[in-house]
Assembly symmetry: C2
Homo-oligomer: 223 residues x 2
DNA sequence: AACATCAGTGAACCGAAATTCATTTCTTTG
DNA sequence: CAAAGAAATGAATTTCGGTTCACTGATGTT
């Protein structure tokens, strides 16, 4: 017996893996999928190209992991909101508005995750992501239906998909590279984002809300 | 002077061009973008690969033309509905439902046009398409606002984008290759499509409608 | 018919980026 | 320290499909 992995090495390997993931995420969030090349990732992580393949079987799996890690954070945030207390429509409003606001904090990354054309394999992970978000929204709608806040004729799965598609598409305009020449760190910009988030969330809520009364209640106390 | 194009040749050229476009469209609608290769198009059109380049400067431009031709038909249909008479919400409902129903008539093609990952260059044309559809929807919403059918606080551009994203995403589930194992030509299937179309259209209408009364009126006479 | 020009051909070319692998360098153990 | 195994390297290979172009065959003009 001549070699066994020591903790020190194990730690270094794990660290390398993290660095690769971090480098990959950074590249995507700076230059989109075009910059997301294996060689570039390796360079950014300070290792050789071939080394990437000791940690990930393929480019697609590497980036699928990046995508799912980032997505998981968003899904977690939404899940928290979904399972918080209060009226369902309030949670729906909050979920949508929060998603929009968070996306606008890192537009380049959000654009890549939501809309930018990319490899088929990576795109699969994206579909899974959307489906998961959709599930969370569906759960809110279902609880809303139980509480009579949501019309009974609404099919929760369809409505959830439509709402998710709606707010993601609503984001594409503001997110798309042309619009993002510069997104200044000003109050005016923040206000604009907040308004957009509110507008989109309001549309989502209205589309399923049972009565005008329920909505009025919501507007009195916007989440 | 030694050569000038005669009508016969002109006709043949034009015919070739059409055949290329038709072959390209057929390939996409059968196998999606994966099958949409220049060599395959040439083969399907019964000509040599290089000949394609006598009619189109690049693959991207060829398929952009395919996409825009197909899209134009849809936009025309929507425009007709938009400029027909009647209440704006009725037109909105009709526009959305019609789009969904038509898409489900050729799911593979619709999927490719709406959601399937594809080359950047082709994707640009797709964005233009979405933007155009969005414009039509926006015009309906604006006229609805003028007629007090649509809430005044709705921003027509945002709402239009959200609605378009919503119904397109609402289609992706039903359209995505897995779901389309077979779409039988049965009454049950047609009923299901009609219901989906109606559900999605209803969500779109509700999201912007001014009052429950307006909606009730709509439900009495579903477009 | 002879010439000029155009249309069609398809095998070869090319670029780009993922992936591989023979070699080198580092770690561990006896 | 030497042997054995693991990890890292990065230049070379592979792949893949779009694009080119030298050539052949058609078509029109004189």
């Amino acid at each position: 017996m001549a070699y066994r992995q020591t903790p020190a090495v194990e730690a270094r390997l794990h660290d390398n893996r993290s660095r690769i993931l971090l480098a990959a995420r950074t590249l995507v969030s700076e230059g989109g999928w075009a910059e997301a090349q294996v060689a570039a990732v390796a360079a950014a992580a300070g290792i050789a190209t071939g080394t990437v393949y000791r940690y990930f079987p393929s480019k697609a799996e590497l980036f699928a992991e990046v995508l799912s890690a980032v997505s998981q954070r968003e899904v977690d945030v939404l899940t928290d909101i979904a399972s918080s207390g209060g009226p369902a429509l309030g949670r729906l409003h909050s979920a949508v508005a929060t998603f929009v606001r968070r996306a606008m904090r890192n537009p380049r990354l959000a654009y890549a995750l939501i809309a930018e054309p990319c490899d088929k394999e990576i795109d699969e992970a994206r579909l899974t992501y959307r489906a998961t978000v959709s599930e969370v929204i569906r759960s809110i709608i279902e609880s809303g239906q139980a509480a009579k806040e949501v019309r009974p004729d609404v099919r929760p799965d369809v409505a959830a998909t439509v709402i998710v598609g709606g707010f993601m598409e609503g984001l594409i305009g503001p997110l798309s590279p042309l619009s993002r020449q510069q997104h200044p760190d000003t109050d005016a910009y923040r206000r604009e984002v907040a308004q957009l988030a509110d507008q989109i969330a309001a549309l989502a809520c209205t589309s399923v809300a049972a009565t005008a009364a329920t909505l009025r209640q919501l507007n009195r106390r916007p989440a």
